[in-house]
Amino acid sequence: MKTSNQLLLLGMLSALPVTVPVADAARPDTSKWECKSCPVEQGWSGSVDVGAGNVSDKSAAFGEYNGLFRNGGFLVGDGAMQFRGPDAYYWNIYASDLGLDTRKLNAEGGRQGRYKLLLGYEQFAHRISDTSMTPFLGVGGASLTLPPGFPGATTAAMPLAASLQRMEINQDRKRSMIGASWMPANNWEYSFNYRHETRDATKRIAGSFFVYAARLIEPVEYHTDQMDIAASYTGGRLQAKLAYSVARFRNDNDALTWQNPFAVPAAPGALSGQLALAPDNQFHQVLASAGYQFSERTRVSADIAWGRMTQNQAFPASTLNAGLAVPALPASSLDGRADTLDANLKLTSALTQRLRLSAIFVHNERDNQTPRNSYPSVSTDMFLGIPRTNLPYSFTDDKLKLSADYRLTARTKLAAGYDQDRRKRTLQEVGTTDEDTVWGKISTRFTDKVDMTLKLAHGERKGSNYEPVPGGVRPPENPLLRKYYMANRDRDSAGLRIDFAATDAINVGFGAESSKDDYSDSAIGLTSGRDRSLNADVTWIVTEQTSLHLFANREEIKSTQRGSQAFSIPDWTGENKDTIDTVGIGVKHAAIKDKLDIGADYMVSRAKRDIKVETGAANPAFPTVSASVDSLKLYADYRLKDNVSLVGSYWYEDFDSSNWMLEGVAAGTIPNVLTFGEQTPRYRVNVVRFAVRYRF
């Protein structure tokens, strides 16, 4: 269906008859509603937690995001405060984890209904690895050098025992935020928000010389500024918004240079290499949105956003190998530009009390205007290659979603829909894919205590001819390959949900989902996928003082792919199967009414990934990739006085994992790859926290 037809259909739907809104109850005389019993308070109120805690063991995996990566003591600092003053002046201030490297402090204030101020500071500590080792010097900088004794022909010939140093890979984000909004009249609001973020420290990367590679540390010194301004209008039937946003990313490091740890006789000039790091970029976007209520039963809403991504960072040199005579580059920088257009139009109309129709049209476009040029190419600083022309990819995605829901009885509702998704890609193997999906759903209340919902869907995706890209990958891909995100595909999915109120105090929920993908036209590449899950939840109000919550989930994700070592018909198969089991229980208990509250949460997660690669030869199976978590949290709140409590918690977590990509792989295990010798994470950590909570 062409876009014009889709719009025509939406237009026809919008012309459907509408009904007159039902009159609301007459507004009463409220002049004598004094609200004398309303406990409206002015001034400051809130609570502050101050205390201390201890982490038993140092672990980057345990403290990956929570700030508890060090062993030893830490300060507890949390709070929630609010101010209510005359004339609707107010402040809400929230602080959490002030004693950790992951901390937040946010404040909102102003005069309610007139203007609002927002202030915030947030810090995120991301611990990536504390078991990695490297012989490189200058970690964290833009130039990595090697100590004496390098290079070596293989990792075995390198003086690793004397040169490896343990290092920590981590990133810290710091965000400062300021914002304001102003409501000069009832219907209008103007807002401004600005966020500045810095990211410091390091992350993993790698560099290679032909088949000799080294895992490297990339310096991270990123700065991102994000600013949004908006004006919005909210009238009786019309809501509208006009906004502009700009995001600017800067990287203090243009490139990472590293000394080649391998002696490569075939290319004696390949002494060091250089990786381009993330270039500075900008994104500007203008957005307009509106919603209009034609009647109580018919509504239309629309958004449109024009954006432009630009990137013009100076190119690094084609090679650091002084022995290679490289032709001049066609430009000193990319002058990269991609325009985006995102629009949607949604119409929903209740034709009758029982029947509602909706139609949604969505258009997303990334039009890459980056100039195409032929670039001289150097293969890993060793050999001159043939010049290559860049492929600035563009995408267009048009979706039409039509649906109807019909209330069959007071207890049963039916819904059905048709989704069409047309994607166009440039400079890729498939120019256009069309996916059509039909779905149906029934929600019914079997009895007063049992609700069930079942949804079934079937989708078919067909693409235009699968053809090699002129000037694309060299040497070419196997002609039997069908890249899975563009390949013809049938997808069947089903979802079932049952909620059962066993008693007034016990609620049981059950869910099952299944999705199956069939890429029957793909001889090479992904050929099938399947995702199945079962879950159950139980909430039980045992007594007025005690409540219980249990949950369990099992999910299996399986896929099959085929390849060809002979670059011909398929001669090997790869199977991947993830199995994820999670069980948890939580209990809350008012041990002493209005005095002591206690609780516990226990969660067990077992996840594994089984991989089989069949070539026809007798291969042993890959060891299972696995991760297991046992987590117990206990907490208590003991009220010493009306406004003072002692709060305490204990957290025990045991994590174990195995991953054959890392296990047994020391820095020098692979002859031609110098790795970090990183170990799979394992930890057993205890955390205790005690604090005094003061309420005011």
Binding site: Y393, L408, A627
Partner: protein, 325 residues
């Protein structure tokens, strides 16, 4: 524990039977008068309601510490000087005319906003949208949540000092009530920091409606990801086509068994699309593990393909066509 076609067929039959029974029952039964709220307001507003509800087991008075309880905002339910049609009706702004309920004590004579209310979800949400259908909520109608019978108060709590769904650390627990599979995914070893309470679901998702897949806060997946991962925006000289199109082609947005939320371990992940004659086409078997018959393989271990092709999100290096510089 698999869902088989016979099971699905049985379930469909069960549903059909239920529909039939419900339809027949609805037609045949002597239908009692449906619950209704009435149209008369109380005589004294909140003072009438609080005669019973001030000491209610479910504490309601903290609402006076929230914006809804602000008396000096003309838009507020408790406004002294109402400035909008809905303002100043105190409890009855949200719960509707309460005279019938106050007189009878009948819980079906008031909009309790609870899931057990006699009012359907759309009627319960309509009250909220009367004031809040602005900015981010213009797309609520026909959104995924609205279509699935979710009412505003299924997620929001208004009588507490701080609504749990509006606080980063507590929001996921609210979402997990329905999104149970997602809770399990966030207990996997490679996740976004939701379990740590650092970010929450609404940093990426727009629960009040969005036309993007997955109800995202931005129009596309990648624009959403770039709000935190701006360094991957580009455009790059040498783009990796799936990375430029949609991050979820390779990454699972919630959690994965393997590093960086990748859907598969390299090299199998990469070999779904890269089959060039030579090393990309070779089946990597356990023979390449340490101690294996082929010796420890750099194509399989540590980063696998990433050991050399490290610039998988794109490269700005003139010699980076293979994403190796």
């Amino acid at each position: 524990m698999t869902i088989t076609k016979p099971l699905l067929a049985a379930l469909l039959c069960g549903f059909a039977l239920s529909v039939g029974l419900n339809t027949r029952g609805a037609a045949a039964a002597d239908a009692p008068a449906p619950p209704s709220q009435g149209t008369a307001y109380t005589d004294n507003g909140a003072d009438t309601c609080l005669m019973c509800h001030a000491a209610w087991p479910y504490p309601i008075l903290p609402i006076f510490k929230t914006k809804h309880g602000q008396r000096d905002d003309p838009r507020s339910p408790f406004a002294r000087s109402p400035g909008t049609p809905f303002a100043g009706l105190q409890c009855e702004t949200c719960h509707g005319p309460g005279a019938k309920h106050a007189g009878s004590g009948d819980k079906n004579a008031i909009n309790s906003h609870k899931p057990t209310s006699f009012l359907p979800p759309e009627e319960r949400s309509k009250v909220c949208l009367g004031c809040h259908e602005n900015n981010a909520r213009t797309g609520w109608h026909a959104s995924t949540h609205e279509n699935n019978g979710i009412a505003c108060t299924d997620c929001h709590r208004l009588h507490v000092e701080r609504d749990p769904v509006r606080a980063t650390a507590s929001q996921p627990q609210v979402c997990y009530k329905c999104h149970r599979k997602t809770r399990a995914e966030y207990n996997l070893p490679s996740v976004h920091p939701v379990r740590a309470g650092t970010i929450s679901c609404s940093d990426c998702h727009s629960p009040h409606g969005s036309t993007s897949d997955g109800m995202l806060v931005k129009p596309t997946v990648n624009q959403t990801c770039f709000t935190c991962h701006a360094e991957k925006r580009g455009p790059f000289l040498w783009e990796h086509a799936p990375a430029a199109e949609n991050c979820t082609i390779c990454h699972h947005p919630h959690g994965s068994v393997y590093h960086a939320r990748l859907k598969k371990n390299p090299p199998l992940l990469c070999q779904q699309c890269h089959t060039v004659s030579g090393h990309p086409a070779v089946a990597r078997t356990p023979a390449g593990l340490p101690g294996g018959s082929a010796g420890a393989s750099g194509f399989l271990l540590a980063g696998g393909c990433i050991n050399c092709h490290s610039q998988v999100h794109g490269s700005n290096h003139p010699s980076g066509v293979k994403l190796m510089r």
